[in-house]
Symmetry: C2
Subunit: 184 residues, 2 copies
């Protein structure tokens, strides 16, 4: 339940941004596979799932705010090489980490909106990791190598993202190891 | 390749709208399953995939228009009963069928944008079917019954949607029977 119009606007914008990010990561993941980077393909797919989790969380907080809205939301466009697409991923994630989610989170706190605060906090923590992983994947791709990992694990509650082994308890939301979703 | 700014704006808006529709149909599909309407859950999932196809098509036409944009896009919000969620589906699809895609298509034609014209045409044809199926599903759900079908088939090229058997050739884009994606 959201009481304040500004927080509701920000939740809708964040939902729009996460929905578009989910979509372009699936598209860029296919390109990575075609270019001979199957692991980077899996990374895009897994992180796309984390954005799905964020979009779901925002949508759920807005559960009672029924109706049609025109939503302004940030998106990165273009299809290029995997190195270029990863740059699109880095740019989008860094915008969320440095500008968008800190402001949205601060507003939710200021307006006393607990559900939105949790949803924005979950996303912000995951995006930090996404920016870092896309950068590492890009460094590999630049030297013609695929990104190196066994599997990507995503927390289905908050989108927390980790390579190779899921933690006993999610460090962001406390979810248990068993419910993490594996991508390999 | 898109040459005109207005067509490019409309493609980005349509991409934003399709990305959000894809996302909310997955969410509403889960609700339908929990409410004891597994077929309506499958219908939401399948139509969500058709919206994924539309978003992909629009994004691909915009391939060369690289960069960050703030995109205004229409979205339906709220989580209620399956009957209510289907009304959200009907409202969104009818807006696309009666207002959004006819105007976007007309503009693409006026500006001589062939790629956009095809992408908008594909979406418009599928949305007509989506509106009709959601209405039928809602009529069933209102009398406490699940929607009745064996499987949903989606054309992965244009999003054409049909129940029970895929056609030999997609009536909208000409794709072959074998590539249709089945949901059951
Ligand atoms: Fe996210
Ligand atoms: Fe992210
Ligand atoms: Fe978590
Ligand atoms: Fe669509
Ligand atoms: Fe549709
Ligand atoms: Fe088709």
């Amino acid at each position: 339940m959201v009481k304040n119009a500004m927080t509701a606007d920000f939740l809708r914008s964040a939902y729009g941004g996460e929905s578009m990010a989910h979509m372009r990561y699936l598209i860029w993941g296919e390109i990575a596979r075609k270019e001979g980077f199957p692991k980077i393909g899996t990374l895009f797919e897994a992180i796309g799932y984390a954005e799905y989790v964020h979009a779901n969380n925002h949508f759920n907080v807005l559960k009672e705010q029924k109706g049609d809205y025109t939503v302004p939301a940030g998106g990165v466009f273009g299809i290029g090489s995997t190195v270029e697409n990863l740059q699109g991923g880095i740019d989008g994630e860094l915008h969320e980490v440095e500008q968008m989610y800190p402001v949205y989170l601060q507003t939710a706190e200021f307006q006393g909106e607990k559900g939105a605060k949790r949803s924005f906090h979950y996303a912000l923590e995951a995006e930090k990791i996404h920016a870092k992983m896309f950068k590492e994947a890009q460094d590999s791709a630049k030297s013609g190598k695929d990104y190196d990992f066994e599997a990507v694990y995503i927390c289905p509650v908050c989108g927390y993202t980790v390579l190779d082994e899921s933690p006993d308890v999610c460090p962001v939301c406390g979810a248990k190891k068993e419910i993490f979703k594996e991508f390999k």
